[in-house]
């Protein structure tokens, strides 16, 4: 089979799953077998994707060239601009291909057990198929406009899945919020595309990169000459594109949708809001990385600082949340912050780029494991709140082990996956930007702390969970993904990642330095110990500490009131001052103008009508008045 057949199958099968299930969602039979069909199709997709991606890595081990497998002009604008539907396979997209199909398969399998009692299971799997299709389209895009198209499509599948329980108002609100916030960010992305496309005279990634990533090209000269408000057009374009990425990747201050998105079914959170869609922003920046590196420092600095700030900010909030999915959501935001600042700091010889994608890779496994574990816990306890849990380690041994390993992985304890990628990031930051490095260190301490706070509260805290659930830990379909992902979380760190994926074709040498690693690992262990001290057994120490911190704690727990701020801006300012004003102007000023025009016409006609009084003498008066007027006019004219 040729590669383009592979691609057709990889992208086509999830879409087929979507079409098949959504069109037949009315029938009873579909509802029964929807999960099996979708999972089967996904398994086939994964098989081909793995094959394609491994083929790529096998054949491009020494030379990292991008392959344009498919290219089809979809919408031609003219003057060199066109939206081409193509498939660009390079190291990062091959890696993503593997991650997305693998996690999606795991989530499909998990959902078989988790969602089996749902009424609209066919719709659920259809939307999962749509999402997988769009996500694959996104990572394989060869054209910046194509990526925007799939970018929107993952947004809408995310909307549909968050709002899957559409009869719950909170789910609908969360879905709306997620869509609107990311849409707002996408506005930046769109304008960025317009700027880059206009000056680069193309939307294709390869052409764009070869033109704008080359300081000697005429396009590069032109885009750096142009500017607005004292900033180069190139910087504008890149910053705006990054805003789009920041929206999808839940970077501060566009992060507010991610915690609410946890209203969706838990497997969805594992797939979309932990492993794949939320890292699209990182992927986007990585795609345009060659352009970022030749531009002025501003865009990358913005990325660095926003990433670092988001990492710390989210870690702080995560320490105070009580809903386990929200803790995981903030943790996701924090980890994506890591990936972002790692891209921003560049590092020696592209170490930052490499570390970032490595972290993206490992994070996908352990974070989806955490979410699926959380799903299995929620399935057992029927609650998201940490206070309803405790002592679960005996009731759910498998979940316990896998959750523990995932926690160790995310905290950066060797030899689990997170350790390798996080050390690489910290090292890259250490060599380029000390301040960001310190933020990273503090954040990884906090990460270890809040993850183990979660772990201890759920699985220890009280001697044993009081209730026994007849369905136990879950079906085999829920256990299998947990086991596979646990295995992955242990092993993937050992992959010599930089050999396969790097920014410039040269593997980053020796990113693992034992001496350097001691400090961060010790800090993480300290975080774990602190969490154990406070949360291993039920006690009042945490509450007392929280009270002693006073308002600071309240602020953090309320997420620094950012949501309220947004709500205030939209409800009180946009709606009240813009929306209401526009409606008022329309109703009273513009419509009023036409209405008064009509009224005026009415009055005028009434006035004219009054002249026709019916009284002969009045008519005679007008008659003689007219004659008088005419005569005086005649005299006036004749006198000249």
């Amino acid at each position: 089979m040729t590669n383009s057949t592979f691609i057709l199958l990889i992208v086509g099968l999830p879409f087929l799953s979507f079409l098949l299930l959504i069109l037949s969602s009315g029938s009873k039979l579909t509802q029964k077998v929807a999960g099996q069909i979708a999972t089967l199709l996904m398994a086939v997709t994964f098989f081909f994707a793995a094959k394609l991606s491994l083929n790529y890595f096998a054949s491009h081990l020494t030379q990292q060239t991008a392959e344009l497998l498919v290219n089809y002009t979809w919408l031609e604008f003219g003057s060199g601009l066109a939206i081409n539907m193509g498939v660009l396979l390079d190291s990062s997209s091959s890696m993503m291909l593997l991650v997305v199909t693998f996690i999606s398969l795991m989530v499909h399998i998990f959902s078989l057990g988790y969602m089996h009692h749902e009424e609209r299971i066919a719709n659920y799997f259809a939307f999962l198929g749509l999402f997988t299709f769009s996500m694959l389209g996104l990572i394989l895009s060869s054209n910046i406009f194509q990526i925007y198209i799939f970018w929107e499509l993952v947004g809408v599948s995310s909307f549909l899945l968050i709002g899957f329980y559409y009869h719950k108002s909170s789910a609908v609100a969360a879905a709306k919020k997620a869509f609107i916030v990311t849409r707002f960010a996408d506005l930046g992305f769109l304008i960025g595309i317009l700027i880059l496309g206009y000056y680069g005279e193309s939307f294709d990634f390869t052409t764009l990169i070869s033109r704008l990533g080359d300081v000697n090209s005429p396009q590069y000269k032109q885009i750096t000459m142009a500017g607005f408000a004292g900033i180069q057009a190139l910087s504008w374009g890149l910053i705006l594109v990054f805003i789009g990425g920041a929206g999808k990747s839940a970077m501060f201050p566009l992060h507010i949708w991610l915690p609410d998105a946890m209203e969706g079914p838990t497997p969805v959170s594992a797939l979309i809001h932990a492993a794949t869609m939320v890292v699209a922003g990182v992927f986007l920046v990585a795609r345009l990385f060659p352009i970022f590196t030749v531009a002025t420092a501003a865009p990358l600095q913005i990325i660095t600082y926003i990433g670092a700030f988001s990492a710390l900010f989210a870690a702080l909030i995560a320490c105070t949340q009580t809903d386990i999915k929200r803790v995981l959501a903030y943790s996701t935001m924090s980890q994506i912050g890591f990936m972002m600042f790692s891209l921003g700091v560049i590092g020696d010889n592209g170490a930052g780029y490499n570390a970032s994608l490595f972290h993206l890779f490992t994070h996908a496994f352990f974070k989806s494991l955490l979410f699926l574990g959380a799903g299995s816990i929620i399935h057992y306890v029927h609650s998201n709140e940490m206070e309803d849990m405790g002592g679960l380690r005996k009731k759910m041994p498998l979940t316990h082990i896998s959750f523990l390993i995932a926690c160790l992985a995310i905290s950066g304890i060797p030899p689990f996956a997170g350790f390798f990628s996080k050390e690489a990031i910290l090292h890259a930051a250490y060599t380029s930007n000390k301040m960001v490095f310190f933020v990273g260190i503090i954040t990884s301490f906090l990460t270890a702390f809040y993850m183990f706070r979660l772990y201890f509260t759920i699985f220890w805290s009280i001697p044993e969970y009081p209730k026994t659930n007849e369905h136990g830990e879950g079906t085999w379909s829920m256990k299998l993904p947990l086991m596979v992902l646990t295995l992955a979380s242990i092993l993937v760190g050992f992959i010599p990642f930089s050999k396969y994926v790097n920014s410039n074709g040269i593997p980053v040498e020796g990113h693992l330095e034992i001496v350097f690693s001691i400090g961060p690992v010790l800090l993480s262990i300290a975080g774990i110990l602190l969490a154990a001290y406070w949360f291993k057994t039920a006690n009042t120490k945490p509450q007392r500490l929280a009270i002693s911190m006073g308002n600071a704690f309240v602020w953090v727990r309320n997420k620094f009131y950012i949501d309220q701020l947004y709500l205030y801006i939209t409800k009180e300012i946009v709606f009240k001052y813009f929306g209401k004003t526009a409606a008022y102007i329309d109703k009273n000023l513009i419509d009023g103008f036409y209405l008064s025009l009509a009224h005026f016409t009415g009055y005028f006609s009434f006035f004219i009508r009054g002249i026709q009084s019916g009284n002969v003498q009045h008519y005679a008066l007008y008659f003689f008045g007219g004659i008088l007027g005419l005569v005086s006019l005649l005299f006036y004219l004749l006198s000249y």
Partner: protein, 104 residues
């Protein structure tokens, strides 16, 4: 004592005309209005005769017009009185205020 000239006659006719006009505007009885109308017509007649006499004595067209107008006025008076009588029959009044069917 100056002889009676054109201006004197014109003065008389315009007096007559405005008296008629005044009557036409102020009277409410249709018969009186008709009489005022006749006054105005007569002032015109005087004008015609006077202009004919003083300006173009060799022509007779002014006289002809006068006779023509007198005839028309008679016919008109007949028609007008017929209308007034009919009006009186239908609305029991010959007050001009009451005759407003022509409105709008």
């Amino acid at each position: 004592m100056t002889p009676v000239g054109l201006p004197h006659i014109l003065f008389l006719s315009s007096c007559l005309f405005f008296i008629g006009m005044y009557g036409f505007f102020t009277r409410r009885n249709l018969i009186t209005i008709l009489m005022s109308l006749e006054l105005m017509l007569n002032s015109v007649n005087i004008n015609f005769v006077a202009f004919n006499k003083y300006l173009y004595p060799q022509n007779l067209s002014g006289i002809f017009f006068t006779i023509f107008i007198i005839t028309i006025a008679a016919a008109e008076a007949a028609v007008a009185i017929a209308i007034i009588i009919n009006l009186f029959r239908s609305s029991n009044s010959i007050d001009v205020i009451d005759a407003k069917e022509m409105k709008h």
